[in-house]
Symmetry: C2
Subunit: 339 residues, 2 copies
């Protein structure tokens, strides 16, 4: 039956939210936003105009909030985390600009995407600017250790994006290859964002590694849920976009599981729609139906729960208190938004 009972089996409304983290870091986050605004300026007006379009469109600022939260968890009392959180958001924004060019997206955060308004050319070049500016900001901070973490993360993200491009439209992609892609394109920046919190606070390596593990596993869980939501009927009910991955022929875990569990006739359907991109009315609904029928959404969420559990346990080293509570609730939020 085409109900979404599997998505709401708790019955209860989601309780976890980003609120505790936001309360914890609000003052710092205001300074991060001011730093972002200040450093995206350029005498070439198109740059702040285009970057501002995307940055003003909102987004949760999840990655910079994680840097601020991790710094709080480490008892950091200085100023450097503000600037570095802005660097993290600049890298993320540059990636989004280039992603939208690569995916030929027309929408981002519910608004026309920058490439739809100003063209691919400007999006590529302004992305390059934000990326360079992020490194300038980091150099201003002066820590080679931070520079190493973020330059490494940037290279890994690019590798992940190239790998994703290769697996797009390839239904032979397996779960392992998929996991490598999301680890690189999403989790690497989460991990860098949280690791930096320990670095600025000069905490021992064990805590750095713990925050890296927290970020990595949170990032994987986050992306798994994102990929599940793209096929979720519940998501569609909420008026949010679904089906982007399907239209682009991205091979995400819900598809990988449904493909492997499906009949030969179903595999032909996936090949036609995702490899040949030969899509017709009703195909997205059939895709959702097959994914549900094979329990592929439930199991994608189950995989996310696994990584979420690791993320929570990674914080075990740290003392209880508001920061630990807030960062734990981020994990819950990332998974619960599936419901």
């Amino acid at each position: 039956m085409a109900t979404i009972v599997d998505f709401k089996k708790n019955g209860a409304e989601p309780k976890a939210s980003l609120e505790p983290l936001l309360r914890l870091v609000r003052a710092d986050l205001d300074r991060v936003n001011a730093t972002i605004l200040e450093h995206m300026q350029s005498p070439v007006h198109l740059i702040p105009q285009l970057a501002g379009h995307l940055i003003a469109a909102g987004g949760k600022r999840l990655r910079p909030m994680l840097t601020l939260g991790a710094a709080a968890l480490c008892g950091y009392g200085g100023d450097r985390h503000v600037r570095l959180a802005a660097c993290v958001e600049f890298i993320h924004t540059a990636t989004l600009l280039h992603d939208d060019v690569v995916d030929e997206s027309d929408l981002r955060r519910g608004q026309e995407s920058a490439n739809a308004v100003w063209g691919n050319q400007a999006s590529v070049l302004v992305g390059d600017f934000l990326f360079s500016r992020s490194f300038e900001l980091m150099v201003g901070d002066g820590s080679l250790q931070v520079l190493k973490i973020l330059s490494r993360a940037s290279a890994v993200i690019a590798e992940g994006e190239v790998q994703q491009l290769i697996t797009t439209n390839d239904t032979a992609t397996g779960e392992t290859a998929y996991l490598e892609v999301i680890q690189a394109k999403t989790a690497a920046l989460f991990a860098a964002a949280t690791r930096i919190g320990a670095v600025v606070a000069s905490r021992p390596k064990a805590e750095e590694d713990a925050l890296d593990a927290y970020g990595t596993n949170l990032g994987i869980a986050f992306q798994l849920i994102d990929d599940a939501l793209d096929y979720s009927a519940h998501q569609a009910e909420l008026g949010k976009t679904v089906g982007d991955d399907f239209r682009e022929g991205k091979i995400t875990l819900p598809v990988i599981l449904a493909f492997r569990r499906g009949t030969e006739e179903e595999r032909s359907f996936w090949r036609r729609t995702l490899e040949d991109l030969d899509q017709h009315d009703g195909d997205m609904e059939r895709a959702q139906g097959l994914i549900r029928q094979h329990g592929a959404l439930d199991d994608t969420i189950a995989r996310a729960r696994h990584y979420a559990a690791i993320a929570r346990d990674a914080l075990g080293l740290f003392p209880d208190g508001e920061p630990k509570h807030a960062l734990t609730e981020v994990v819950d939020f990332c998974v619960e938004r599936a419901y």
Copy 2:
């Protein structure tokens, strides 16, 4: 008369070449090439494949040679210049990949461009990878001063590229705006490449500044000549590509001068061809004719000579010898290749 007498008024064959610089730095340049090959590797095979296509296609390696030459001029005896010269070439290569996407070019260095072979998407993402990798390499070097110089240069290049995008198809662009664009998109990396030579050798600020001035002015002269060559009949005789800028509607100095010196009817021609990109058979020849008729090529080259003279004088502080001779001959080469 449609001769190219203005381009060959010396009568003599060009004498200056990159040979003296190449002789000076050959051993180091081999190590730069090895460093480039080593650091463009990735488990994602498309990355070395695509990057290797462009890097193997040759190119003069002018920018890394300038870093090596500047280090020699400063009497540097260490190893760091090799890695940093590779960083400079990585940044340049990333820029070329993105440029070809922005310009929708099919050819680069006489071969099919990477975007023509692998698509725009892969070119954008591999460019991002090379750019990130360049920063990783710099961080490995460990000098915040170098990181500052190259991250600043990268941001300026991106600003210049955006500004160029804005002035493309705009015949109202004046010489000042054009100069700002080429200073940012080309000269900034030349300046960073040469300045680094003084930085690794721990030379006084006056020498750093002198090498920066050398690079800046050499870069401006280089780009002016490049822009002249794109309309040169002589260049066409040599079997090299001409007319790319015209086809794309780029507003370079030869056009700016011809436009301002032309009649209203001629300006209509420029507007139709460069603003509306409404181009027909014979238009490129007419453009070349107008540019010649108004002395716009000669005067573009005259402007280049001005910056070349400043570049030569910037080396005045340094002792005579093979490095200074080689770097001076680079300046001569950059201008004389117009003939």
